[in-house]
């Protein structure tokens, strides 16, 4: 028994000691699932793999709602009677508590935060095997995304928080906002960097290139032209009179140069046919300079975050779009519907009105005639753009995953930006270059060329061309930087929230007798959105009483005078 005891103890103590001595080894575990940022960046390919998610996942929430609820809902291209995330904004009913506000704000900042992560990882974590040019290119791609996100933020909320290192802010996120012009400047510097370091030709179809950045710059410079008085922005030349009527020629000039750079040097081309822009087969076509890149497939297969779900919010029936659709009452506004010139080919592609025939919908049933194949909406004509049919029609679409890319920047916009920049502070222009590109867009739509351009012709053309592509509100915001009262008056005369329906006897659409209900009067304050209540609660600097603090920019990395050489 004694011997047994001794053996027993010896065995236990022996193994116990052995285990003890390797306690620390025992506590070392290996992560077999996830890569980590410290070891991942060991090749040029790794950099590309880190930027490829900035074209979809980070934009997913933006794309799902804010893209159209602001771009088109607030500008009254859309009348959506019952959708709380659109109609609140259309009717100027928004408060810091409104549905969709926090989501929209968060969606743009998820782009900023993840772009920062990519930029800093490339800078700090790349091994020596990563080439300098790959690093610059990767950073440029991420800065393109961040710049675009900040342009949206500056346009919608004005003063917002600028930061370039997400992890720095994690432990101390209560920081003041920065003024709108600083945010715009930050965005411009990001895109100038992108314009300088991105390759002239996209390395892969759908990735942005140098000219995508120039094209985007033409948009941003036009915004900045309204926010500043004269010369390059230096923190002091911020415009304070929003009704002064003129724009900063320095930025008008840059906008023109950036647009011309794209038009003259890049390989981007207008599609000959407007309709072809909205086909899945033409994702990343020659006219698209920046699109959100969605995967095709069921969300159960591809997951959430890389799926195109706008279609489910625009589609008006299960016959025209896969699965349950919420777009039945999401209609083209009466105001927009009336503004279409009768021969404008874009109307049929943008809005489905009574009698319109679509061969690409209900293919097996011999096509789809709106209002005839199924009864039409009683709220108005439905939105056709991004509605691409069911899986049976196109072989691609699934529920909440239609597979069509989202247009973020088309060459047509750069053409119209050029015309706007040339028009500048003049009441109208007959400049040949401006007319050439303006009319290129207009004639494609089957309309007669114009011989002179003024603000109104440009406004109209842009609204028709980009309806439901999430842009029109920003056109109005930009105008309100220097003609605020005119824009506010315009907003109040848009006959918002009015329903209309097809009158078979008259053979035409007729508006409801009663004006739209629940529409508040727009004021200068309506040009900005409130910060969401949830975030104000977390950061008192977002409260209305707090004043923004100037952002301290470092030295300009890209010289604007040499950028266009």
């Amino acid at each position: 028994m004694k011997l047994n005891n001794i053996i027993f103890i010896a065995a236990l103590v022996g193994t116990g000691m052995m285990a003890t001595s390797c306690a620390d080894d025992f506590l070392d575990q290996k992560n077999t699932t996830s890569l980590n940022q410290d070891t991942f960046f060991d090749s040029d390919d790794a950099v590309k793999e880190a930027t490829s998610t900035l074209y979809n996942y980070v934009w997913n929430s933006f794309n799902g709602k804010l893209y159209y609820s602001m771009g088109d809902g607030r500008s009254n291209n859309i009348t959506a009677q019952w959708s709380n995330y659109i109609k609140v904004y259309t009717n100027f009913n928004e408060t810091s508590l409104s549905e969709g506000l926090q989501e929209g704000w968060a969606s743009l900042y998820s782009v900023v935060a993840q772009s920062n992560n990519v930029i800093n990882n490339i800078k700090d974590k790349s091994s020596s095997a990563v080439t300098e040019s790959a690093k610059n290119e990767g950073i440029a791609e991420a800065r393109f995304m961040r710049g675009v996100a900040y342009w949206y933020l500056a346009s919608l909320w004005g003063n917002v928080i600028l930061y370039n290192n997400t992890s720095d802010l994690v432990n101390n996120y209560v920081v003041p906002t920065n003024p709108r012009a600083d945010v715009m400047e930050f965005a411009i510097r990001d895109l100038e960097y992108a314009a300088k370091y991105l390759p002239a030709v996209s390395s892969e179809a759908g990735r942005v290139n140098k000219y995508s950045a120039f094209g985007m710059l033409s948009r941003l410079y036009l915004s900045m032209a309204g926010l500043t008085t004269d010369g390059q922005y230096d923190g002091t030349n911020v415009a304070t009179d929003f009704n002064r009527g003129t724009r900063n020629t320095y930025y008008l000039n840059l906008a023109r140069k950036a647009a011309e750079k794209v038009i003259k040097e890049s390989s981007f081309k207008l599609m000959s046919d407007y309709a072809s822009l909205f086909k899945i087969a033409n994702n990343n076509c020659a006219e698209d300079m920046f699109q959100l890149q969605w995967l095709s497939g069921s969300t159960d297969a591809i997951g959430w975050g890389c799926n195109q779900d706008i279609t489910a919010f625009f589609g008006w029936s299960t016959m025209v779009s896969e699965g349950t659709n919420w777009g039945g009452a999401t209609c083209c506004s009466w105001n927009l519907f009336q503004e279409y010139e009768s021969s404008d080919l874009r109307r049929h592609e943008s809005v489905a009105a009574y009698g319109d025939y679509y061969a690409d919908l209900n293919v097996k049933g011999g096509g789809y005639t709106y209002g005839v194949t199924e009864s039409a909406s009683t709220n108005g004509a439905n939105i056709k753009k991004y509605v691409v049919g069911t899986h049976d029609d196109n072989g691609v679409s699934y529920k909440q995953s239609s597979g069509i890319n989202t247009h973020m920047l088309r060459l047509a916009e750069v053409y119209l930006n050029l015309a706007d920049a040339i028009l500048g502070n003049n009441a109208s222009t007959t400049d040949a270059e401006a007319l050439q590109y303006f009319n290129a867009v207009r004639t494609r739509a089957g309309l007669e060329a114009k011989s002179s351009i003024d603000y109104e012709t440009l406004r109209h053309e842009r609204r028709m061309e980009f309806a439901f592509e999430g842009l029109y509100w920003y056109d109005l915001v930009r105008r309100a930087y220097y003609k605020q009262q005119e824009v506010v008056n315009y907003l109040n005369n848009q006959d918002r929230n009015r329903t209309y329906k097809y009158d078979a006897e008259a053979g035409a659409y007729k508006p409801s007798e009663k004006a739209g209900t629940g529409v508040a009067t727009a004021t200068a304050a309506s040009m900005l959105l409130p910060y969401s209540d949830a975030d104000q609660n977390k950061n008192s600097y977002l409260k209305s009483s707090a004043t923004p603090v100037a952002y301290s920019f470092g030295a300009r990395e890209v010289d604007e005078s040499t950028l266009f050489e």
């Binding site: 005891n5 506590l27 929430s61 782009v111 992890s167 896969e322 349950t324 104000q536 950061n539």
Partner: protein, 1056 residues
């Protein structure tokens, strides 16, 4: 000694105690005494009968008879586990029959403490025990239900009423901000790690208790203060629940069958609109331009009741339970084997729970110096989770105009895509269930190396195989359709093993110095792996396995996680003269969850107890006060509940059009470390009048520092949405819990076979945040419904955690003059309106709410949000009364909570007068506007007033939402206090002499009513809300919680 050998340690220790208490008598001139020992049910077999002071005695036989040789004039002592020991003066009698009385709270009972056992009398810490009688009386499906109201300081709330769902168990308040505030469970000495459970799923049975068959339980010991829990170190700060299962006894086998059948029903129904009411309200909304008129609602008088979706979803549900156990053994080896089957249907369609359990415990004395034990348990369960929170809301919000089924028998649906999908159809057609298999095995060897010195080595393993099955068919319910058939399987395997070696030395020196020293070492490892496969392209809904889908559109993913813990620990117990007791423990833990340099932590504790009643000066009061003990304890415990790899920035692999890409998955915190709780405890144990009154009181103070929390970052840090990196874990501050708990057990009447016992339990806890390290010093929790994201709770320094946060409604604009008030100087001022609003029909108007302008800046914005409620109760309590008479046992048990608030978040939606979904009938009583003077314009607010102001609290119907009347406000905060008649159970144990005649040992029939009635002011289904997602900071938020059912059960217990 001819007593039947029992391996039951309680009994052995109990005898040891008796030996120690009474000095030896000198024996001479013995006589023989005979008799029978019985209780109120009949003869007692195996009772020990001996002469007081003697070391040997006799044991009663199968008929309860004994024979013993004793000295005349001495005292006979009769004892049996579970009964009060009786002493009978022999005098000159030779036949003495003894009737034993049950004793539920014996001081001699053994309490399971960390890595060992102790006599209750020696315990220095705060430990509360629940015995099997309490389990029997409450007929639980899961044993956590037994703890509710029965253990002071333990707050139990069911997070959902769905069968098999988890409960929130908080021991002495919420002392972590972390989502997992659950204590650890130690089943027969083995820590059951909840690794790999999805704490975000309120329905997941993430508490290991759900997998245990309650009838296998002998006792539950809840270790509350740090001096008791510190031996579990890094995992102990939320408390420890020790569970002991039944083990065998030497002797002929006992076979017991226990079974019951029960019915469950919805305890309360909400008063939702019927079709006519809904149509009338719809027309009123259409008149305001909120919605288009519906042709179907033109003549509301012609409409009937429509669909009652609550009736459609809820049903009377059956439950059955069967258990069989066999225990027995020889002197050298004993066994206990049991099998159980539970089948519980849920009261909502699509919910249910089935559980099969099998357990075996064997113990053997393999050598004179070596004991071996082997235990295993197997649980196989299936939980139907078709009726989740979403579905309950669906049923409430579904319009009564929609039928459950169309005339052709197919499921119907709404004509509005924004309305909820047919809840009944989804519950029945969608496959949504999980199957869980758990296998635990535990083997140990214990060697007696030297007198009093033992070495035990024990290996335990815990395997879980969790499988989740999901299939969504294609359907078309009204305008809602789904064309994609999707099947999804998720399989999660976990394996946990641990190995510990424990050296124990126990001895008593010079009669007065009792020492018990334990040293141990333990290592444990958890492995978690999960594999999910999803398929679409099924050709029909009749087969659901992923292989039946289209391989080209299927996906498969897999991931695994390992973590490990390495520990050393020790405990020293010293008792001087059974008057002064000292326990000290120390543990050192290393955890893989933290980066190198932050891995190891020390967890010490010490406790002192003074048995005042054993002092000589107390001798005179011994017949009144039979036990008085004072306890003082201090200790430090840890919490390591963070996700693995939180200290490292990971990249998630994502598919993109250009192949796989990566996205930053989390914000890392390399400095992450333990959360530590330091606590102090002062306690008093008092037993009077031979234990007829037992009183236990404790006061405690706990301070938790380095609080672990996944910081809810603001949205502008990119913290939400599909492309967001997850929020970082951090050590954010400290908080304090202090409280008092009291238990009073009394035997009120014990006469002529009638006994009335009362148990009172009272727990009071106060929680306060001491510091937070974030600059803003607040932690806000938001809750999202659709696109509505609202802050619901705020946690900030100086307040208890998770306080409800929002606006205060101070009135309604009932007439034009309400828009103005006179300030202190008599100046007329405008009442504050929401920022950006003004007096206009499309903004703020007559009939809209007035919110309190807390900062007095003349406008309502989020600076006017404030604390509007406290989800934490002032105190909780339990009252139990048991009446016993001739085999009848009647227990009436109440549990309650006082002073806590609940957010009735449902009302934000089902009492929103503007909403198109179905509403509470009360919503029809919205504020109606009337014109004061018909000759004046009706669009001038000065000519309007609320006509029904005195009878409604609701706002007007408005096409505008600018005033945001349904914003998160104190209107949705309700008093969540309740008193619940939790149980009425009645049992009858047939007299043993009758039972014996039919060769049975014991027969008991019983019935039980559970959740009988609840006294509360709360308007929702059930004031017992628990925590949303099991998150302590979301306590008291009720949004479509599955209501707890009322249950009637009838059962039978037979053993032979």
């Amino acid at each position: 000694m001819i007593m039947k050998r029992t391996s039951n340690a309680k009994k052995t220790l109990g005898l040891l105690f008796l030996f120690a208490m009474f000095p030896l008598w000198i024996l001479a001139q013995n006589i023989t005494v005979k008799g029978t020992v019985s209780d109120d049910g009949g003869p007692v077999i195996g009772a020990t009968v001996k002469m007081k002071g003697a070391t040997t005695g006799s044991v009663t036989d199968l008929d309860g008879k004994y024979t013993i040789s004793v000295k005349p004039g001495s005292t006979l002592q009769v004892s049996y586990l579970g009964y009060q020991t009786q002493e009978v003066k022999i005098g000159n009698r030779t036949t003495i029959n003894v009737v034993l009385k049950t004793d539920e709270e014996m001081l001699n009972e053994v309490v399971v403490v960390g890595y060992g056992q102790m006599k209750r009398a020696d315990v220095t810490g705060s430990v509360v025990s629940i015995n099997e009688k309490a389990v029997e009386r409450s007929v639980p499906t899961s044993i956590d239900q037994v703890l509710q109201g029965r253990a002071a300081g333990v707050q139990i709330q069911a997070n959902s009423g769905t069968p098999g769902a988890s409960t929130s168990i908080h021991i002495r308040g919420i002392n972590s901000l972390n989502a997992t505030n659950q204590p650890i469970f130690v089943i027969d000495g083995v820590v059951v790690d909840a690794a790999g459970v999805d704490t975000n799923d309120p329905l997941s049975s993430n508490n290991p208790l759900a997998s245990i068959n309650p009838s296998d339980i002998v006792s539950m010991d809840v270790l509350k203060d740090a001096s008791a829990t510190a031996i579990y170190g890094a995992r102990a700060s939320n408390g420890v629940i020790m569970i002991t299962t039944k083990r065998g006894k030497a002797g002929e086998a006992t076979i017991t069958y226990d079974g019951y059948v029960g019915w469950q029903e919805q305890a309360k129904k909400l008063d939702m609109m019927n079709l006519q009411q809904y149509a009338t309200h719809h027309n009123a909304r259409a008149a305001e331009g909120i919605v288009a008129y519906s042709d179907a609602f033109v003549n509301t008088d012609a409409l009937g009741e429509g669909t009652d979706w609550q009736d459609a979803l809820f049903r009377k549900a059956l439950m059955t339970n069967h258990n069989i156990s066999i225990t027995g053994g020889t002197q050298a080896s004993t066994y206990a084997i049991s099998g159980g089957y539970l089948n519980q249907k849920g009261i909502a369609e699509g919910s249910g729970y089935k559980r099969l359990t099998l357990r075996g415990n064997t113990d053997a004395q393999v050598k004179k110096w070596l004991k071996a034990a082997l235990s295993f348990s197997l649980t196989d369960s299936k939980q139907e989770v078709g009726a989740d929170n979403g579905l309950i809301m669906n049923a409430l919000e579904s319009q009564p105009s929609v039928a459950v089924k169309s005339a052709d028998g197919s499921y119907d649906g709404p004509d509005d895509v924004w309305m909820p999908v047919n809840a009944i159809a989804i519950a029945n057609m969608r496959e949504n269930y999980n199957k869980k298999m758990n296998f635990r095995v535990n083997g140990s060897l214990e060697a007696t190396l030297y007198k009093g010195l033992t070495l035990k080595t024990e290996i335990s393993a815990d395997y879980n195989l969790n499988k989740f099955y999901y299939y969504e068919p294609d359907y078309k319910f009204g305008v809602l359709s789904n064309d994609t058939r999707t099947g999804k399987w998720t399989k999660t395997d976990t394996k946990y093993w641990s190995w510990r070696n424990i050296l124990t030395y126990a001895n008593t020196f010079a009669e007065k110095h009792t020492v018990n020293v334990m040293l141990g070492q333990e290592m444990s490892h958890s492995h978690w792996e999960s594999q999910a496969s999803t398929a679409t392209g099924f050709l029909s809904n009749s087969v659901h396995d992923p292989s039946a889908g289209d391989v080209s559109s299927s996906t498969g993913t897999g991931t695994q996680v390992n973590n490990s813990l390495f520990s050393y620990f020790g405990r020293a117990f010293y008792s001087y003269d059974d008057r002064y007791l000292l326990t000290a423990t120390l543990r050192r833990d290393g955890s893989s969850r933290f980066a190198d340099g932050h891995r190891w932590g020390w967890f010490p504790s010490a406790a002192l107890a003074w048995k005042v009643s054993n002092e000589s000066f107390m001798k005179g009061t011994a017949n009144v006060i039979n036990n008085l003990k004072l306890r003082f304890g201090w200790g430090s415990t840890g919490n390591q509940n963070v996700s693995d790899w939180a200290y490292m920035a990971l990249l998630a692999s994502k598919s993109t059009p250009w192949g796989t890409g990566v996205l930053t998955a989390n914000n890392a915190n390399p400095d992450l470390k333990w959360e530590t709780t330091d606590s102090y405890n002062i306690g008093l144990d008092l037993n009077m009048f031979s234990n007829r009154i037992e009183f236990i009181a404790d006061w405690y103070y706990k301070k938790t520092r380095d609080l672990l929390l996944q910081i809810p970052l603001p949205a502008y840090l990119g913290s939400s949405g599909n492309g967001a990196a997850s929020n970082p874990w951090s050590n954010v501050g400290s908080l304090r819990n202090t409280g008092v708990e009291m238990t009073l057990n009394t035997v009120n009447i014990d006469k002529a076979g009638f006994q009335w016992r009362t148990n009172l339990v009272f727990s009071l806890n106060r929680n306060k945040v001491i510091s937070l390290d974030t600059e803003s010093s607040t932690i806000d929790k938001t809750f999202q419904v659709g696109s509505d994201v609202s802050t619901v709770t705020r946690t900030t320094v100086g307040h208890p955690i998770g306080q409800f946060w929002g606006y205060k409604v101070i009135g309604r604009f009932d007439k034009a003059s309400d828009f103005y008030y006179k300030d202190a100087d008599g100046n007329v001022k405008a009442v504050a309106l929401p920022e950006g609003s003004s007096i206009a029909k499309d903004k703020t108007w007559i009939g809209d709410y007035i919110f309190e302008d807390i900062n007095g800046d003349g406008k309502i914005n989020n600076e006017d949000e404030t604390f509007i409620g406290n989800p934490l109760p002032d105190f909780t309590y339990g009252i139990g009364n048991t009446f016993s008479w001739k085999g009848f046992d009647l227990t009436i048990f109440f549990s309650g909570s006082y002073g806590n608030d609940v957010i009735n978040y449902n009302r934000r939606f089902i009492e929103d007068v503007r909403s198109n979904s179905n509403l509470l009938t009360s919503a029809a009583n919205y504020a109606q506007l009337g014109v004061i003077d018909k000759n004046l314009p009706a669009d001038d607010f000065r000519n309007l007033y609320v006509t029904n102001a005195s009878v409604t609290h609701l706002p007007r119907l408005s096409a505008s939402s600018t005033n945001a009347n349904n914003r998160m406000s104190d209107l949705y905060i309700e008093d969540g206090s309740y008193l619940r008649l939790q149980n009425i159970s009645l049992s009858y144990t047939l007299p043993k002499n009758i039972v014996r005649k039919i060769k049975l040992e014991n027969v008991k029939v019983y019935m039980n009513l559970q959740n009988v009635y609840t006294w509360t002011k709360y308007d929702g289904f059930d004031p017992e809300v628990g925590a949303m997602y099991g998150d302590a900071l979301m306590t008291g938020l009720d949004y479509g919680r599955y209501p707890s059912p009322r249950i009637y059960t009838f059962g039978l217990n037979v053993s032979f």
